[in-house]
Symmetry: C2
Subunit: 382 residues, 2 copies
């Protein structure tokens, strides 16, 4: 049995005003051809199909055409869940008719309890649910850990996960492993989004979306839990990540293996860290098709660096000053590694504009930052 696992397509995503739809199309074209070779028994797409709750017509069309071709007139079953970027309603529109062609779109709480059954396998679908959504289903939950604990408990209580089938979980969440010494409660308090891997011990295979690296969870104890990674690189943090899909194989004796297969990534990006003078003097060369982020030292003496550099490199998407150890010595001679948020804004402004920050500007930024912090505190408490 061969199961293909992909996720986080983010159709319609813009990265710093660059529209990625053509790169997405190129990548999906490769994926479709790969599937013609693989001839899988099921394809699983684990959430964040679209980048926005209100996808553009171009993004909708790309989804529709891709799914139609992958499905091969009903021959290849497809299981799709919604992620945190998807609108449950928009993604599941027309699911009634797609279901008849073996395309299963799962977006709701109720869907968790009616697994998709394909060739002796059961796919328990856990779309992204906010704690708020779960409260509307009368579950008193605070964190994402609570959400998935409630779901797994309910499945166990109804004895739905059992040995009659191979039990798959398809989810879209931030699973954390490898932290044996910390209690689950600690994890929950540290990051409300984290869910500990041990929660999914009863499933034979767990296919996840949300984290963009295909190797997000590399832990010997949780070899049955996988991230496929995203379709493309969607931030400069992903510069060195391979992009592709996973193949889960189950042999006749029930042995399972998972393998990541890379595709040719059409969206090249590079983070250059170094001296701004080397760039201005053209001592470094960049591929004209590669999108760039500069992390620059020695920037204090250059005015309007950003605009100058954008003119030289139209593919420059992001710029960040890198403060060296000597910049961090305060007037009192102390090392001030932990800059305040206000200082970061002030230094960035002075770097970009080449002018010093006024009292009035400082006050404005200070108030804004306090406002954001208050909002965050409030949203954590609700």
């Amino acid at each position: 049995m061969k199961i293909i696992h992909t996720a986080d397509w983010h159709l319609g995503k813009m990265l710093n005003k660059v529209d990625l739809i053509e790169h997405q199309q190129t990548m999906l074209e490769q994926f479709i051809h790969a599937m013609e070779e693989e001839r899988p028994d099921v394809i699983v797409i684990a959430g964040d199909i679209y980048d926005k709750v209100n996808p553009s017509n171009v993004a909708l069309n790309l989804f529709e055409q891709t799914i139609e071709r992958l499905n091969q007139d009903g021959d290849v079953p497809i299981v799709i869940i919604s992620g945190n970027h998807d609108s449950k309603e928009k993604l599941s529109f027309a699911k009634y008719w797609m279901e008849k062609q073996n395309i299963h779109i799962k977006t709701t709480y109720e869907d968790v309890f009616s697994p998709v059954e394909i060739k002796g396998m059961k796919f328990f679908c856990m779309p992204y649910f906010s704690p708020h959504y779960m409260r509307s289903k009368e579950h008193d939950v605070e964190s994402h850990y609570d959400v998935y604990r409630v779901l797994v408990d309910a499945l166990n209580q109804e004895e739905l996960i059992n040995d009659d089938h191979v039990n798959f979980c398809v989810g879209h969440l931030f699973v954390q492993g490898g932290m044996e010494s910390e209690s689950e409660k600690d994890i929950q308090q540290g990051n409300l989004e984290l869910v500990h891997a041990s929660l999914f011990k009863d499933f034979d295979q767990v296919l996840l979306g949300h984290l963009h690296s295909p190797f997000s969870l590399e832990d010997q104890r949780f070899q049955h839990i996988h991230y496929s990674g995203s379709l493309l690189k969607y931030s400069f943090d992903e510069e060195k990540q391979p992009k592709g899909y996973r193949v889960i194989s189950i042999d006749n004796d029930g042995n399972t293996s998972s393998k990541f297969k890379g595709l040719q990534d059409p969206f090249a990006m590079k983070v250059y860290r170094g001296s701004i003078f080397d760039i201005l003097n053209k001592e470094v060369e960049f591929d004209p098709d590669t999108y760039l982020k500069f992390e620059l030292t020695e920037v204090k003496e250059v005015n309007n660096a950003y605009y100058k550099l954008r003119n030289m490199y139209p593919n420059l998407l992001e710029i960040k000053p890198v403060l060296e150890q000597s910049d961090l010595i305060t007037e009192q001679g102390e090392v001030n590694i932990e800059r305040s948020d206000e200082d970061i804004v002030k230094q960035f402004y002075e770097f970009v504009e080449g002018e010093s920050f006024t009292e009035l500007q400082q006050q404005y930024v200070f108030e804004k930052i306090r406002g954001i912090e208050d909002d965050e505190t409030n949203s954590l408490n609700h």
Copy 2:
């Protein structure tokens, strides 16, 4: 053979901030039950399914559920075209899968030339096309008349309309009949949207959407052309229009008849024309579930009439002062029936606010109106 004709559902429409979705749901529920009785061979929905190019999730859901129930798991074929309120892309999303269940969604130029064939009938679908859209298909057209002339000519040239089948046209446009003395060119120049009924002479039956009255075209010479009317009353002009659907019957000898069947309209509206004092003194009574429009005489002496009346009648949606003959005598003693746009705004402002219009306000309104007129002129020329 029995063909059901409906159109102009405008799902998601708001009328003066009143959300009509529940009334639409009630009416569609009746329609679904009526179809269970009628047991039609085809249902035709002639455009303006949604009210907006970006329909709300609630509107999308209502469409999806209604079509699913009407279609009865593929047993009842449905033909749907896009109207001027629909987005071609949004309406046709998932049409590939719906087609397999006998639901045919037609939105493009190319669709015109592949009629839907059902039980010896051909449905030629002419969705709403703007002249701009047709120019993108390399047809040099200016008016709606040009658009449909091009389409009918092309169908004739390819000899697609012929006697092998009963030829239906499904369209969404403003057809005008009964003007024998005027040339088609006059009609075209007078109103760019009008299309003369004689253009459709080669079709056996023409089922239209766009105009909201089921009796929009009552002309002995064009008995084969029908409007079904809209699902609900969508403006106070429609106060007295019945709402329902049409039944087109074709007997074994090929004789055709069309009959309008009314449904129980859940959205009651009333236009009251009379003295404002009768209302303020409660000498007129209104049903509390009926939405109201007041056309009022003697309003000059009442300040803030609108807000007063809204407090008394929460269902009051529109108010309009009615100027009597004596109001229209200018200082020079001449009858000034044709008020300028500026005068209309000025008089309405004074009526609502009970204050006179300042010079500054007059100037502002004057400029705005000129701006709108310029925009209109420009858009007609492109």
